[in-house]
């Protein structure tokens, strides 16, 4: 028996396919990155909704028998499979067995199967005891119609939907944080209901025809204390009414207390919940921008952006500035971008992320640059440098682009004084506002430009000025007309926006 288990476990451990499929299913059920997860979720939600609908409809209308079969067999079967798979991927029994076996061999002690197996099964049982697993299990049972009480099982199917409702999870999370206050409140509630119930039972059991048992008394107490007051049971003696009044007053106090606890819990966590939403949302896009620091420069950056901007998030550790950004209507998260946890929340693996370090202090910008680069080299960093003498440090830290406000401005002023005409031209080009902009065109393999010589291209007809091309990091200024364009060249062109776009489209289409 032991040998059989062991050899089976060893075989599973060795099988790559087994491990891969298990990981795949885990990802499909619990993960976030599997592309098919979305469809699975929609399918399950569809099953739940239809099955609940059938049952509700059936209360007053007859339904065809095949719908009953669908609900009874098909839905239940799918849920059963899902439950089993969830249980299966929760942990790895074969891994425990093999590890224990290896340890036993290593220490030359006797290999005992039972303790590991017990440990593994206990973990599975722990999983089965979690609320979501219980709901899953109960949702398997179809609502058996002839027995009215069993119809309650349909509720579990509805509850199963909770797995797909994020806001509910957040609600539970918030409530969990206030466990202590709410438990105190619950205890108080039990105490008052108990006292009032016993009092009314003792005082009116013989007199009031409505109160026949202690259960009636407790029911009355709870209905009264929550200010619901159905009125099906009412006190008839003066003593009973006095008890009622006291109960009502304490009820009002307790309800307002409970409300305030929950409200304050929410308001404490509201910004955090919102921020998590922002991060989740931005993580879905394939490329986005992380702006670190909402200072003057960031403000200017957003102001200059024409049209709405989608894929960005602002990080700032200063609460005042976060508030400011929020007021200005931007997506902002109150986090410190120099912390590892902050940046690793983002979808570093699958998205093209550009980080703008725009903090006022160079030290912080360097730190953020290093932080980003340590998480993934793929992240692009544009860093602001205030002190020109530490440029090399930024380069060493791996920043892709450096922004030196002081230097840029100094050059501008100098040009404005020494060569005013040129200043106008350069300013126009740099800001890209006017008729002339200098733009780049990346030539890719299948471009119709590849293989053509510079002389053959119709720059002049399209009112474009060909300034030069960059090849392997070298810039060739105004290459001779015989020069042949190669794949991956970057052409530097100047012209009006429409000329540039026209030229670009023309050669894209000619594929």
């Amino acid at each position: 028996m032991k040998q059989l288990f062991l050899s089976f476990a060893l075989k599973l451990r060795k099988s790559k396919r087994y491990k891969e499929s298990k990981a795949y299913i885990w990802e499909l059920l619990n993960g976030t990155s599997n592309p098919y997860k979305k469809y699975l979720d929609i399918f399950i939600i569809f099953l739940i909704v239809t099955s609940v609908f059938i049952l509700v409809y059936e209360v007053t209308n007859p339904v065809p028998i095949w719908l009953d079969y669908y609900d009874f067999y098909f839905v239940s079967f799918v849920f059963f499979i899902e439950y089993i798979l969830r249980l299966w991927v929760h942990n790895d029994l074969s891994k425990y067995i093999v590890e224990e076996y290896r340890d036993a061999q290593f220490l030359h002690r006797e290999f005992k199967l039972w303790p590991v197996l017990k440990y593994g099964l206990k973990e599975k049982l722990n999983y089965m005891a979690t609320p979501s697993a219980i709901v899953d299990l109960l949702a398997i049972f179809p609502a058996y119609r002839p027995l009215r009480v069993l119809r309650i099982f349909v509720l579990f199917r509805v509850l199963k939907l909770l797995r797909y409702a994020k806001s509910i999870n957040q609600f539970v999370e918030v409530i969990k944080n206030k466990r202590f206050e709410l438990l105190t409140l619950l205890f108080l509630l039990f105490f008052i209901v108990g006292t009032a119930g016993i009092a009314i039972y003792v005082l009116e059991e013989r007199i009031n025809p409505e109160i026949t048992s202690i259960f009636d008394a407790f029911y009355w107490a709870l209905v009264t204390i929550t200010t619901v007051g159905y009125g099906d049971i009412a006190p008839v003696t003066d003593a009973g009414r006095a008890i009622s009044m006291l109960t009502i007053i304490s009820g009002i106090a307790m309800i307002s207390f409970a409300t305030s606890v929950i409200v304050s819990a929410f308001s404490e966590r509201l910004s955090e919940i919102k921020e998590n939403r922002i991060i989740e949302q931005v993580n879905k896009s394939r490329s986005f921008l992380i702006v670190c620091g909402y200072g003057q420069m960031a403000k200017m950056f957003f102001r200059q952006k024409k049209g709405p901007m989608e894929n960005y998030v602002i990080l700032d550790k200063d609460l005042k500035r976060v508030e400011q950004a929020r007021k200005d209507g931007y997506k902002v998260v109150h986090e410190d971008a120099s912390r590892f946890e902050t940046l690793s929340k983002f979808n570093v693996e699958h998205a093209n992320i550009t980080i703008l370090c725009m903090a006022e202090s160079d030290v912080e910008n360097i730190y953020i640059t290093l932080n980003a680069k340590s998480i993934s080299r793929k992240m692009k960093v544009i860093a602001r440098v205030n002190d020109i003498s530490i440029v090399s440090k930024f380069e060493y830290a791996g920043a892709d682009h450096l922004l030196m406000p002081n230097q840029v401005v100094n050059t501008m002023i100098r040009t404005a004084i020494t060569q005013p005409t040129m200043y106008k031209a350069i300013h126009a080009i740099l800001t890209g506002k006017s008729v002339a902009r200098i733009d780049e065109m990346h030539v890719h393999e299948e471009h119709s430009l590849v293989g053509k010589s510079v002389g053959e291209l119709d720059f002049k007809v399209n009112k474009l000025l060909f300034i030069g091309l960059e090849r392997d990091g070298e810039f060739l200024f105004s290459p001779p007309t015989a020069e042949v364009i190669q794949s991956y060249d970057i052409l530097l062109l100047m012209g009006r926006k429409i000329s540039l776009e026209y030229f670009r489209n023309k050669h894209e289409e000619a594929l």
């Binding site: 200059q304 952006k305 401005v409 050059t411 002023i413 060569q419 040129m422 200024f477 105004s478 530097l492």
Partner: protein
């Protein structure tokens, strides 16, 4: 005083750099600084014409005779002082050309109201650059190198002299590529003082007195600026 003289207010982080650049270009420079440390720094750096004075005093400003200078450049470290200075200069000397630096959005507005002819906004320029980097990284990097002259390629503006071979030619027919330079645009004096890009699609005639802006390797640009003085092109 000569045409190319500048009165520079402030020798802080910006003033220092600008002063150095202007000196290299051969400008006549007078530096005014109210901060004693910066004043000494300017002296140390070898500038002869440096004055230490209180720029809030109108009488002292008048003594400077700013109308004799081509441009007044206000780059004081203290932005409040900079706005105040711009305002004083404007109220005292209506005709002068004043260029000021601003390091916040609010200051830019104030400087314009105070009467500066040109305001260069540190943040506006930088934010613009970020957009450019995001949209066209290679072009931005190259352009930056052109402007600062890193790659040996730069811009140059030239005045078309009398009797140049360029006279009478139109922007459509000229081709400067044999000279190793490219024509970017020009100021056509006949059409007012506006800058026209070559790519705007309008044909202009080059005349004596027009300014052209070219791009190219530095030595080619220098050669070309000599070349256009001749009656006939050698090439």
């Amino acid at each position: 005083m000569s045409e190319r003289s500048i009165l520079l207010f402030g020798y802080g982080s910006h003033g220092k750099f600008i002063a150095k650049g202007l000196q290299e270009e051969g400008f006549l420079l007078k530096i005014i600084e109210s901060n004693h440390d910066y004043y000494l720094q300017a002296k140390d750096d070898g500038f002869m014409d440096v004055e230490h004075m209180d720029v809030t005093n109108d009488r002292l400003l008048e003594v400077l005779n700013p109308q004799n200078y081509e441009q007044l450049v206000c780059v004081m470290e203290d932005e409040h002082l900079n706005v105040f200075l711009t305002l004083s200069l404007r109220s005292l000397f209506k005709e002068s050309y004043i260029l000021s630096i601003s390091d916040s959005i609010h200051t830019t507005k104030k400087l314009k109201m105070a009467g500066a002819n040109k305001v260069i906004d540190l943040y506006e320029v930088s934010a613009n650059k970020i957009h450019n980097i995001l949209k066209r990284p290679v072009a931005t990097k190259l352009l930056e190198n052109f402007v600062s002259g890193h790659d040996g390629i730069s811009f140059k503006e030239m005045l078309i002299p009398k009797n140049s071979f360029l006279e009478g030619m139109t922007t459509d027919e000229v081709d400067f590529s044999p000279h190793g330079v490219l024509l970017i645009g020009m100021i056509d004096e006949a059409l007012g003082h506006a800058f026209v890009f070559i790519t705007a699609g309008i044909t202009h005639e080059l005349n004596y007195g027009d300014t052209i802006v070219c791009i190219g390797p530095e030595d080619a640009l220098n050669r070309f600026s000599e070349e256009i003085k001749k009656k006939e092109s050698q090439i």
